[in-house]
């Protein structure tokens, strides 16, 4: 049944498909699925760029200004960046800045939101498209130019911004302090434009989820990815404008001579930090909540069991999002901020650990007494839990204000953030891509390559980032071009070399994923409509891939999305749109 549908010419809504030119259909498309896939290609490209920048950083950290170990390929760079194989401090600081900026804003965030909010929301709620398809198209075509402007900063005189992705003023506000002129302005302009793209998306996602759910799709029958993406969209809606305000103020300080952050003329450097982190902390929840949603979905489907504590999971998402507005000062414990304020931020930060803990236990509860199928998505989703726990627990250390005195701005924080962003979000993204790839492209990704990529990534990821806890505990500072200048750090060069080579192997392993992704587009096994035997509407009511308009008729929803292994049914899944008390007869289980 499903295989003949891959050409996606179901009856109904898209009679005008034949009239659409290639450009209207695949370039300037208003179809949420195409836009999601456009974000996918764009973000994977930027993920590679971010990885390359990390490699450059790791080379410097392994062999700080060591003429015996010139940067491989250093000759490709201009002398203002890499001179005789030696990475210059200016370029190192730019690499640090841009690695963070690109990974957060042009890789992880669009991978989680631009891709999956766009792709999944209408399908999972039973809608034919987003509320505002043209606005959706504008959202992608704003993000891509923003990305290109960001890349342009590498090619201007003075190089790219070197003030860290956090851009603390006054370092970022006055070119006098960094020697960076146009690069800094391009950074700011790019981020402002990207903000507009995110806002357009957020307005669309929120309106669509509120207004366009299919009949029977009540709030508490929504799949968790949609819940997570909906709450994330609210965070984006409210946080990004604050960042935009701060960016504008910084840009004005840089260009027209205002004095918001310049201490000498009455500005307040700490105001930048407050505004940035008021946005920045919700931002990190933007970077994890969708991942949590995907993990819930995949673990339930992979365990053939309902999500344990669905209501608690929803409340936890909302709780994390809400409390996330009240913790921003924990990035500023050592800033000179009033210590009493520090205590209140510590309290809220400690509290926010609780809903995350609830989620971890509920994921374990979902697996408990399940029927676990460890296909590629499941491997990644379970690993998310294992790695996120480490990241979350390391967060408790820095949440304690006195301990943070020592650990702030050390590699302990670098370890913490990479365990949540890579061990957490990126693993979830790899799992989500493997999971929804069949729906997007009508083909399966190769399972063997998927598993090889998974194990190599898991191994090397831990070899790179776990030792960074130790480096931080030993006191190694962040963003340090040459740690060997410090007597107490010089002994760690062996460990740095170990970490760097693990990192190079980690980055190289991603080639397997890239190959699998591209190869399977053309040669992957044709995907059935519902390869994972899942319950949500994208699997049960639409072919792989779905046509323009998604569904043959408006679906009707009869139950929640996690009725796996229901005692009344002969099959171990029960689609949301299947009426009647008895589940349908089982289909052949996939070979994986």
């Amino acid at each position: 049944m499903a295989t003949t549908m891959t050409e996606a010419h179901a009856h109904g809504a898209h009679a005008d498909d034949h009239e659409l030119s290639f450009v209207r259909k695949y370039v300037f498309s208003t179809d949420h699925k195409i836009i999601g896939i456009q974000f996918l290609f764009m973000s994977l490209f930027f993920l590679m760029v971010g990885g390359l920048l990390a490699a450059i950083m790791r080379w410097q950290l392994a062999y700080p200004t060591d003429p015996a170990h010139p940067l491989p390929g250093g000759g490709l760079f201009p002398e203002t960046m890499v001179n005789a194989g030696i990475i210059l401090p200016e370029f190192y600081n730019s690499a640090v800045t841009m690695h963070g900026t690109i990974m957060i804003f042009f890789a992880i965030m669009p991978l989680l939101v631009g891709v999956f909010a766009n792709y999944l929301i209408p399908l999972q709620i039973g809608a034919p498209d987003m509320a505002f398809p043209k606005l959706n198209m504008a959202s992608f075509w704003t993000a891509l130019p923003a990305g290109l402007i960001m890349l342009a900063g590498f090619f201007v005189e003075g190089g790219h911004s070197g003030a860290g992705w956090t851009q603390y003023a006054p370092l970022s506000a006055d070119p006098e302090w960094t020697g960076v002129y146009a690069g800094q302005q391009l950074w700011l302009i790019s981020m402002i434009i990207l903000g507009f793209s995110s806002l357009m998306g957020a307005v669309n996602y929120i309106t669509t989820v509120i207004n366009m759910r299919a009949p029977g799709m009540t709030w508490f029958r929504l799949p968790l990815p949609t819940w997570a993406l909906f709450i994330t969209a609210i965070l984006i809606l409210l946080a990004i404008p604050v960042l935009t305000g701060a960016l504008i103020m910084l840009l004005f300080d840089q260009t027209i001579g205002t004095t918001f952050f310049a201490a000498a003329t009455g500005g307040e450097p700490l105001l930048w930090q407050h505004m940035f982190w008021f946005f920045g902390h919700p931002e990190v929840y933007i970077l994890i909540l969708p991942a949590m949603g995907f993990v819930s979905e995949i673990i339930a489907a992979g365990s053939r069991k309902p999500v344990f504590g669905y209501n608690a999971m929803v409340l936890a998402i909302i709780g994390i999002a809400f409390i996330g507005w009240l913790v921003w000062g924990h990035h500023m414990f050592q800033s000179g901020m009033n210590p009493t304020l520090g205590v209140s931020f510590m309290v809220t930060t400690m509290i926010i650990a609780v809903p995350s803990a609830i989620k971890v236990f509920n994921w374990m509860g979902t697996m408990w007494r399940g029927d676990l199928h460890f296909h590629t998505p499941m491997l990644h989703a379970v690993t998310f839990v294992a790695m996120f726990v480490i990241g979350g627990l390391s967060g408790v250390f820095v949440a304690s204000t006195p301990v943070d005195i020592f650990l702030h701005d050390t590699y302990f924080v670098v370890a913490h953030l990479h365990y949540v962003l890579f061990g957490g979000s990126l693993f979830a993204i790899f799992g989500a891509i493997a999971f929804w790839y069949p729906k997007m492209f009508g083909r399966m990704m190769n399972p063997t390559l998927g598993k090889v990529h998974f194990w190599l990534t898991l191994l090397f990821f831990n070899l790179v980032f776990f030792p960074m806890h130790n480096l931080g505990i030993a006191g190694m500072m962040r963003r340090i071009y040459d740690f060997t200048q410090y007597e107490f750090l010089a002994p760690f060069q062996g460990l740095q070399i170990f970490i760097s080579w693990s990192a190079f192997l980690l980055i190289a392993s991603q080639g397997i994923f890239a190959f699998n992704f591209l190869y399977s587009l053309f040669k992957g096994e044709r995907a059935p409509q519902n390869p994972w035997h899942a319950n949500s509407l994208e699997w049960t009511a639409a072919p792989s891939p779905p046509p323009h308009g998604n569904f043959a008729g408006t679906p009707r929803v009869y139950r929640g999305p996690y009725e796996y292994s229901h005692p009344e049914g002969p099959a171990d899944f029960w689609p949301q749109n299947e009426p009647g008390p008895v589940a349908p007869a089982p289909e052949p289980v996939p070979a994986e």
Binding site: G162, G309, V343, L372, A399, P402, I405, M477, R478
Partner: protein, 233 residues
């Protein structure tokens, strides 16, 4: 290798104590969760004929695993407050602490000591680059300032860290427990020379410190200095 540096200040042990408490609590949770995941992954893996147990959850267990983490984090938070306030509250800076003015700039630390007139900020102050001389066993308060961008005054062995923000004067106090030479580093990205903003902290015995001050042309002997700094803001 890769562990806490030797502790040389009076409050370092308090900070380390909370660090170890958190390590113990998170360590137990870490082992339990990872072992649990591994155990479930193996025990409940798919086998022919296996059927999952259909349940939507259990409210009682939700309450338990909400309450326990909540109690633990509150405990950690409550225990963290006293050391934090002792270290950071301006009104907890010990009376008679010896004052050093520390000006951070791109890319060096300039420590200033009162001159013979006993007043900070006058022409007879003695200023030195990238080294901080202090006496053992006496509280010291460093007034952090910055000439340009944000730097961060980091003494790893003392468990001291405080940002130096332009436009602000931020006091940070500590007391050394032994003599010796220790590390001073900048812990906030401050430009291309951030990496070389290192220095030394030299802790003298009380007599040696007096001698050093005299030799450098800095202020009156320790006792007199302590008496006069009692009047300083």
């Amino acid at each position: 290798m890769g562990w806490l540096p030797e502790a040389v200040s009076t409050f370092a042990d308090q900070i380390d104590g909370i660090f170890y408490l958190i390590l113990a609590i998170t360590g137990v949770i870490f082992v339990a969760v990872e072992a649990g995941l591994l155990y479930f992954a193996i025990k409940y893996r798919h086998r022919e004929g296996r059927k999952a147990y259909h349940t939507h959850g259990n409210t009682r267990v939700e309450v338990v695993w909400t309450a326990i983490p909540a109690v633990l984090v509150v405990l950690i938070g409550v225990l963290s407050v006293p050391p934090w306030l002792e270290i950071r509250s301006p009104d907890r800076i010990p009376d008679g602490a010896y004052v050093v003015d520390m000006m951070a700039s791109q890319f060096e630390w300039n420590a200033s000591y009162v001159g013979p007139d006993g007043q900070m900020g006058t022409d007879d102050d003695v200023t030195q680059r990238n080294q901080l001389h202090i006496p053992v066993g006496r509280p010291v308060v460093v007034t952090l300032r910055s000439e340009d961008v944000i730097h961060s005054f980091f003494l790893p062995e003392f468990r001291v860290k405080q940002d130096a923000v332009p436009g602000m004067e931020t006091p940070v106090w500590f007391q050394a427990t032994r003599t010796g030479e220790f590390t001073l580093a900048c812990a906030e990205l401050c430009g291309t020379g951030h990496t070389r903003m290192g220095g030394r902290v030299i802790v003298h015995s009380a007599e040696d410190f007096d001698a050093w001050l005299l030799a450098e042309g800095a202020g009156p002997p320790l006792e007199a200095r302590l008496a006069s700094t009692n009047d300083q803001p």
